[in-house]
Each structure stands twice: as structure tokens, then as C-alpha cells.
Amino acid sequence: MTAAQFEVRVEANRRLSGGYFLLELAAAAPTPVADAVPGQFVMLRGEWGRELLNPRAFSILDAPDATRFSILAKAYGEGTRRLKRVEPGDRLVTTGPLGAAFPRPVAGVRDLLVAGGVGLPPLHFYARMAQRAGLSGHVEMYYGGRDRDDLVLLDDLAAWGVAANLATEDGSAGVRGYVTAALSPRLDAAARSGEVVRVLACGPTPMLAAVRRLVLERGVQAYLCLEENMACGFGVCLGCAVPVYGAKPYRYCCTDGPVFDAREVRWP
């Protein structure tokens, strides 16, 4: 699937709890983002003039038809602050779909989807695709955030019949603690029963590092969806290097990833 650069219009900017916003975007004609799969991303840029040059990368939350897709984000820096303020009708330039996706479901292997905060979109998309394929029972969601407000789009999971195991740092929803607190007993139970599970995770780097330690200790297969600063998103700026084990010390978040095998990532 070849990426393209095209213009989209904002159809809706939904404000969610916890400072999250969900942008529903539509192009005038079918785009290759229609064929995007969970883990892939787009670069988005508004009419930002000369002050703010580069687009920002967003994991695709959904691509319901040939012309539309959506992203979920939180304001962090100047680019996301500006995107949070967009209104229906505003124009954005999109490049995508970019990057390598999570692996597809495998018969006999249960997928544990592990999301932390802003890392929800690719796993929410994965759960949605599983539901569309009649595989809701194949996936379980492990979803952590700061507090109850930091967990969004829970209604979707309930509607799809996807089990959601929540964790919050203040204990206002689910277990108290990080998402790994919910995940690790599940991995232990699978090990005891001989059930084959696989972990697909996305979230802040410290969370992914913790998930990686958990799965490596237990020999569980896992894929991590990473985030790095990137100027282009298509393998040119070389800004988004990811430290890996192997012949070369770095691979690229944008073209080799953003999804990497947890064993490959070279983190302490």
C-alpha cells in the first residue's frame, strides 16, 4: 500500500474527558488510508504558516470508509495544541498511511491489547477490527491511565463485547497502579494454564519498557508500538531512530516500525 499526501477536512472535533480530542477527518475522494491497519499512522499538519514547519504523527484510530479516518490525541506541544482547536470545515494536510502495522490475529493465540494513555488508538482500532471480523472474543483490553477521566472510548469496547481490564494510578477506575499491575497476573495465569497469549502494546515509553520486561521474563511474544520525534514520517529525515539489537544499532520508527518485536528493541 503506497502512501499519499492529500487534503482532508475536519468533520468533527469531539472533546473527550482527560483533555483528549478525537478528530474525524474526510477527504474529497478515496484515499489509501482507507486500507490502513492498526499500528499504521498518518502525519497531519494544519495551515500553520512558517512558524511551525513539520507535521505531527498520529496513530490511526479508525478508517470507516474510503474517504474518512479518525485520530485521538491530547495537547502536549504547540502542534497538538493547534490541532485541538480545529473546527469542522478546517483543512489539514495528511500523509499516509505510513509504517508497519501490528501482526494480524492468529488462530489459537489470544491477543492481550495493552494501552497506556495516549497509546490507546492502535489498540482500540485493533479491537474494532477484531469485532468487525467476528473475533471480539479473541482479544482482551488492558488499559491504564492517570485516573478515570484519562480512560476514554470505553463504551465502544463494551458495545463490541471486548473485555476491558482497567488500571488507574489513583484507583478511580479498575485496579490501582499501572497497567502492568493488571497485565502481570493475567500473564501468570496464562502460563499456569498453558494458554498461548500474545501482547500488543502502545503507550508512553516507560510503560512499554515495563511491559517489555514482563513479557521477556515470561517468554511471551509481544509487539510494541513506539513513538519518536519525526519530521517526515517516510524514512528521509532519519530523526526517529529506534535502538535495536541486530546488525545495525538503529532502525526507524516510521518505516521499520512503529511496531517492533519487543525482543528487538534495545532498552535497558
Binding site: 503506497t2 502512501a3 499519499a4 499526501q5 502525519m43 499538519r45 512558517r50 512558524e51 511551525l52 514547519l53 513539520n54 507535521p55 504547540e78 502542534g79 494536510v93 500523509t95 519518536e228 520525534n229 519525526m230 519530521a231 517526515c232 517516510f234 524514512g235 528521509v236 529525515c237 532519519l238 530523526g239 526517529c240 531512530a241 529506534v242 535502538p243 545495525k248 544499532p249 538503529y250
Partner: protein
């Protein structure tokens, strides 16, 4: 009207179909852009900097955005001269655009070695010698900042090169004309002006520099006024030295400013990241602008800058100054 405008130009002995080239480090080896834009519409491509051996680049984070620009410290990551000639050059050659291979070494011998080895490649129109990258630790600084050293290095590379050498100068010097003069006298066919300006940004939340190597190269429209000033200074002082201008070009108007200041052609760098079709758009904008301003050709615009008329002295003199 604009259809008839002659976009051809040259940078010394290098003939160009248009004055717009893609800048080194911002276009990789070209392939990634084929999906987005018509590469054959470019005047040329300057490749990612090539060294004799492959380099893996710097630790993370390598880039960050700043007002009107970005800092990078990629660390001259590249595939090395051997893999470049084998895997990357054929694609570029087949495009039919001017192919400039940007290259560097880590010391005197490796620079010369790289220039010689690149001579084995077919379809290279020029070598762009990078003596100005701020992102290598070893020795690099002297090549780009001391005129005598730049002169010696340029002369040695010119002697072994089969194609013209354009020297890409560092703006991180106090006298850019002295550097340009030194490399011209050593046989450079032209100069590329300017490379990135060293800069820094800090994340106050983590109290760390925003890039791992602390300092990086600033590019983008933030540096355009400095780049223009340096192009103009060199063009005025050394009228016979062809200049390829660059630094924050985002539009046809930006490109025309560089041409008016005395550049014979320009490169577009940072703009390619956000907009892979930037070079082609800028070319069309330049064509339209030349038409609007009644320039029949790119060549007519080069160095067409007019000085402000000096004010008559009697008006400048203050009536209160006495005497």
C-alpha cells in the same frame, strides 16, 4: 505567458534544467519521494552525505522543532560509498536530473578516498563536498572554519575527482568570503551556501537539551535571512564563483530572493519533510513569479538585486549638528 520562461541555469560547469535542487540530508537517495512527486521535474538532487564507510548515526533524540525551523543531529548516517554506488546511484542516474553526490570524510585521507571512489560511479554530475557538518565529533570543525585547511582539502579532492566539486560551506564562521575565496582558489567549481547553523533547545520539564548531542544544526525559514546575507556577500566579493543558495526556502519567492542575491541555483531542504512535493511546487511558483515580474528567464534574475539609492548628503546631515 509563464510557459515561455526559460528556467535553465548552471552552477559553473554543471548545466541545470531548473534552478531548484533537493538538498542533501533532506531527500535521502530520492526513492522515497517517487510515490509523492514527479522527480523528473527537479533540477537536481543532492544526496545524503556519503562517507567511505557506512555510518549509523547519533543517539536519540536526534531532532526537535523550533520556531520557524528545526534542529537536527542525525550524525551523518549513510550507507557508505560502496553501497551507494551499487544500490542508490542507478535510481538517481535514471531520473535524468542533475545528480550531486554530497560526501565527507572523518579526516583528510578519508575525504580524498571518498572523492576518488565516487569517481567510479557513472552518472554523477558533481560532488558536493561537505566541510561543514556540525554533527561529527572528530576534526570536522577545522575543515569548515580555517581557510588554509579548507583550501588544502579542496585541492586534494579536486585533483582526484572526475567531476566538478562544489564545496558546501559552514555558516558558523566569522568571514564567509574568506572561506569561499580559499576553496575557489583550490579549484572548487562553486560553493553551496549555507549548511545549518549550530543551535540548541532545552526541555525545561526534563532539564535536558532537546537533542542528545546538546547542539545541532538549525534549518528552516528561521535561518533564511542569514543565508541570503552570506550568498550576497560572497556573490559581491567573488563574482566569478558560482553559488548554490539554500537556507529555509519554502516558496518561489524565497527562491527568487536567493537568485537575486546572486545564487545561480538553489536547494530546498527542510521543506521536503512536511511536503514531499515542495521542490516541484516551488519550481512552479518561481516560474509564475518570474512571469509576473517580467523576467524572461532564471538567468535574467540572477544577481538582479538593486541597491537602495543613496540619499543626497545634504538631506542626511542634521540641521542641528552645527558647523
Amino acid at each position: 505567458m509563464t510557459e515561455g520562461i526559460d528556467l535553465t541555469t548552471s552552477c559553473g560547469p554543471i548545466a541545470l534544467r531548473t534552478p531548484i535542487l533537493a538538498a542533501s540530508g533532506c531527500f535521502a537517495y530520492g526513492q522515497q519521494f517517487a510515490a509523492f512527486t514527479d522527480l523528473r521535474a527537479l533540477g537536481g538532487i543532492s544526496t545524503k552525505g556519503i562517507s567511505p564507510l557506512p555510518r549509523f548515526g547519533n543517539p536519540l533524540p536526534r531532532i526537535c522543532e523550533t520556531t520557524g525551523g528545526m534542529l537536527n543531529s542525525i550524525g551523518l548516517e549513510n550507507v557508505g560509498v560502496e553501497a551507494f554506488l551499487r544500490d542508490k546511484l542507478p535510481f538517481l542516474r535514471d531520473l535524468g536530473v542533475s545528480v550531486w553526490v554530497n560526501f565527507f570524510g572523518v579526516d583528510f585521507e578519508t575525504y580524498v578516498d571518498c572523492a576518488r571512489k565516487l569517481g567510479e560511479g557513472q552518472g554523477i554530475d558533481a560532488l558536493e563536498m561537505n566541510i561543514s557538518c556540525p554533527n561529527i565529533k572528530k576534526g570536522g570543525i577545522e575543515f569548515g572554519t580555517v581557510p588554509e585547511v579548507a583550501h588544502r582539502l579542496t585541492r586534494a579532492c579536486v585533483e582526484v575527482s572526475r567531476v566538478p566539486i562544489i564545496v558546501k560551506l559552514s555558516p558558523n564562521v566569522s568571514d564567509i568570503v574568506a572561506m569561499a575565496d580559499a576553496v575557489q582558489k583550490a579549484g572548487a567549481a562553486g560553493v553551496s551556501l549555507i549548511n545549518t547553523i549550530t543551535g540548541m533547545a532545552i526541555d525545561v520539564r526534563t532539564r535536558r537539551p532537546k537533542i542528545a548531542t546538546t547542539y545541532g544544526g538549525l534549518s528552516g525559514p528561521a535561518i533564511k535571512p542569514i543565508a541570503l546575507r552570506m550568498v550576497h556577500q560572497v556573490a559581491r566579493a567573488l563574482p566569478d564563483l558560482p553559488i548554490c543558495g539554500m537556507g529555509g526556502i519554502l516558496s518561489g519567492e524565497d527562491a527568487l530572493e536567493f537568485l537575486m542575491a546572486g545564487a545561480h541555483c538553489v536547494q530546498i531542504g527542510t521543506a521536503n519533510f512536511a511536503e514531499p512535493g515542495a521542490c516541484v511546487r516551488v519550481t512552479e511558483e518561481l516560474r509564475a513569479l518570474l512571469g509576473t515580474l517580467r523576467f524572461p528567464s532564471v538567468r535574467a534574475a540572477i544577481g538582479s538585486l538593486e541597491a537602495h539609492a543613496a540619499e543626497p548628503e545634504h538631506l542626511v546631515e542634521s540641521p542641528w549638528s552645527g558647523g
